[in-house]
Amino acid sequence: MISIKELVFKYPDGHLALDGINLSVSAGESVGIIGSNGAGKSTLLLHLNGTLRPTTGTISISSLPVDDRNIRAIRRKVGMVFQDPDDQLFMPTVSEDIAFGLLNLGLPENEVKEKTDAILNRFGMSAYADKMPHHMSLGEKKKIALAGILVLEPEIIVFDEPTANLDLHSRKDFIEILKGLKQTRIIASHNLEMIARVTQRVIVINKGKIIADGPAKDIVSDTALLETNGLM
């Protein structure tokens, strides 16, 4: 599904953010990526849909290399839920925001409307269709951001800190949603407890390198590993 080989990424200022990442993820897996701030989590995620491109190394999604020629197909396959929903919800109303991606796919308007209504209904948020995201709570915004991605039916969904800043009630709610998804999921966070609950496999990165890769329960209980990587 996802295959990353020898991925190195250097920012223009020379900062080496990813230093030789090798990773394969199979269909349907739910993979957690943990590491302290600045370890390279977000940089890695932005490579998965081609927003950033490797300095050296290759990435392919369902055997399609991530490059300019395939970029549209890649973006259809890989949905991204960003950390701050304010960065993602820029249309004036909830339904326009969910329709945004669908219209970009060139779907006819009646189909767009159907799909938008269906996803809002699934999330129990039909009443929000004409609301402005700007006036909603963080937990509601997070759900709408996810709905806008799910409606595009991606094969892989990438989450950056999905539960950051949520209060405990919204966090529980969102964790249930995460657990219920069938797609391949990549979830970056420094919240070990959430990662332990929603993923089966966990990868630890530190200074742009993969330090460990194993079953979630083994990694999360390996205090020595977590401590040396600033995670405990």
């Binding site: 004036p92 402005m132 700007h134 006036h135």
Partner: protein, 211 residues
């Protein structure tokens, strides 16, 4: 539209530097008189906002891209003289940090975008939004004002290059004004969308103290 150094002759850049200094000084006086404590950080953040918004490129016909200028938006939200100040600061920082526009040409660039762009745009917006009542008037006003601000600023730029003997007016004016009549549509659509969003989300922000 940012003129570098060396493209204007002495009489032109000196004269425009003097004119722009005058307008900036007038705006500073008005700002000092009307600015509240709260506006101190706001004016700086608004300059950063215009700068950041200018980074969003949009495609124009033929593979080229334009970007948002923001003079009319700044003037409508914060007042025409605040618009002049904000544009002047954006241009000065662009000149220093990104070598976008020259130092001796800074006066000309401020004149084109900060004075012509901001003041004429505001005037058009003011007249149209007073003539046509309600939200429609505001939207029509800002659409036409933004389009005109781009075309006028580009024409002023062409006229300055011609006065300096760099390019003949009969070449520069049609070329600059023509291209910017198209880019201006982008500016107008963007600015109108911005105003629509603000009217829906935070209409109170249109009632800020104007300078």
């Amino acid at each position: 539209m940012h003129i570098p150094d060396g493209f204007l002759d002495t009489k032109t850049w000196v004269a425009l530097s003097a004119v722009s200094t005058g307008f900036v000084a007038l705006s500073v006086v008005r700002a000092n008189r009307k600015i509240g404590e709260k506006h101190v950080p706001l004016m700086g953040i608004m300059s950063a906002f215009i700068f950041a918004a200018q980074m969003l490129n949009f495609p124009v016909a033929g593979g080229t891209s334009g970007h948002f200028m923001g003079a009319v938006l700044a003037a409508v939200l914060m007042g025409p003289f605040a618009g002049t100040l904000i544009m002047s600061i954006v241009l000065a920082v662009q000149c220093l940090m990104f070598a976008d526009g020259g130092i001796t040409a800074l006066g000309a660039n401020i004149f084109n975008m900060g004075v012509v762009g901001s003041l004429s745009g505001y005037l058009i917006y003011f007249l149209l939004s007073s003539a046509i009542k309600g939200k429609t008037g505001k939207l029509i006003g800002i659409f036409i004002a933004s389009w005109a601000s781009i075309v006028l600023a580009a024409s002023a730029c062409a006229a300055e290059l011609a006065l300096s003997g760099t390019i003949a007016l009969n070449v520069a004016l049609p070329a600059m004004a023509g291209v910017h009549m198209i880019i201006g549509i982008g500016e107008a659509l963007i600015t109108t969308t911005v105003l629509t969003l603000i009217l829906a989300a935070r209409p109170d922000l249109l009632e800020l103290t104007k300078i």
